[in-house]
């Protein structure tokens, strides 16, 4: 099962809000100028932040509670930046029911506008029934 392809842009304000939650003091997130001083084209997207785009997708399956995150793997294939458009899809695979629990894998793939894969986020979840 898969979601529809969805596009989005990370904005500077979102990145800075995210970084403040983490208490991260890395200056590359402070401003475009600061990022450029470190040789970057602009403010990069923090490594785990792409996973926050789940909220942008209409997910055609429903996991009954409790929904528990068991394991997370992320691959940053290419550096991602603010103000660029990315397109992604989430797939649900490897669904196994054991007693009252359902084990599954959700994979988020994000591509840039030229179709290059930028990010893979593989989440292993245990939940109640999946509808």
């Amino acid at each position: 099962m898969k979601t529809k392809e969805t596009s989005f842009i990370f904005h500077k304000e979102q990145v800075q809000k995210y970084i403040r939650i983490l208490g991260d003091s890395n200056p590359i997130y402070e401003s475009e100028e600061s990022a450029r001083k470190f040789g970057l084209q602009t403010i990069p997207i923090p490594p785990a932040m792409p996973m926050t785009v789940y909220q942008s997708f209409e997910i055609p399956w429903l996991m009954k509670p409790p929904v528990i995150h068991r394991k997370q793997q992320c691959i940053n294939h290419q550096q991602m930046f603010i103000n660029e458009t990315y397109t992604g899809v989430i797939s649900l695979t490897d669904v196994v029911v054991r007693k009252k629990y359902t084990f599954s894998k959700q994979t988020l793939l994000l591509y840039d506008t030229t179709g290059n894969l930028c990010f893979s986020g593989i989440s292993h979840i245990v939940s109640g029934e999946i509808l």
């Binding site: 939650i21 509670p65 995150h69």
Partner: protein, 113 residues
């Protein structure tokens, strides 16, 4: 072997829920979390993951070191406000990470830089 510590506050969990749209009550409602056998509100797995990277990056790396790949298994819940001690071992391509909380291993994985 290096040791780094962090904890995640209730306010940080609320702000992360708002930013990520993940309002699973297991993270936000103590009674709900207890109904499912947890002893308190559980920190989002992705917030724990982000914090592990942030702590490691700020403590041991330069500003432009980014992870190529990382994997964390959430072995036990990380509860709001609990101190997590990361044991970090430098390996050829990155770091092996184990997070302990009150004597129990809560996260385990690797980060390739």
């Amino acid at each position: 072997m290096k040791e780094l510590q962090f904890f995640i506050t209730e306010q940080e969990v609320k702000r992360y829920a708002e930013l990520s749209g993940d309002h699973n009550p297991i993270h936000l409602d103590e009674n709900y979390a207890k109904k499912y056998g947890f002893s308190g509100k559980v920190v989002h797995g992705m917030l724990t993951t982000a914090k592990v990277w942030s702590v490691l990056s700020n403590g041991l790396l330069t500003s432009t070191n980014f992870p190529k790949e990382y994997e964390l298994a959430f072995l036990s819940p990380v509860y709001v406000g609990e101190l997590v001690t990361l044991h970090i071992e430098h390996e050829t391509n990155g770091f092996k990470v184990e997070g302990m909380c009150e004597g129990k291993m809560v996260v385990k994985g690797y980060i390739m830089v």
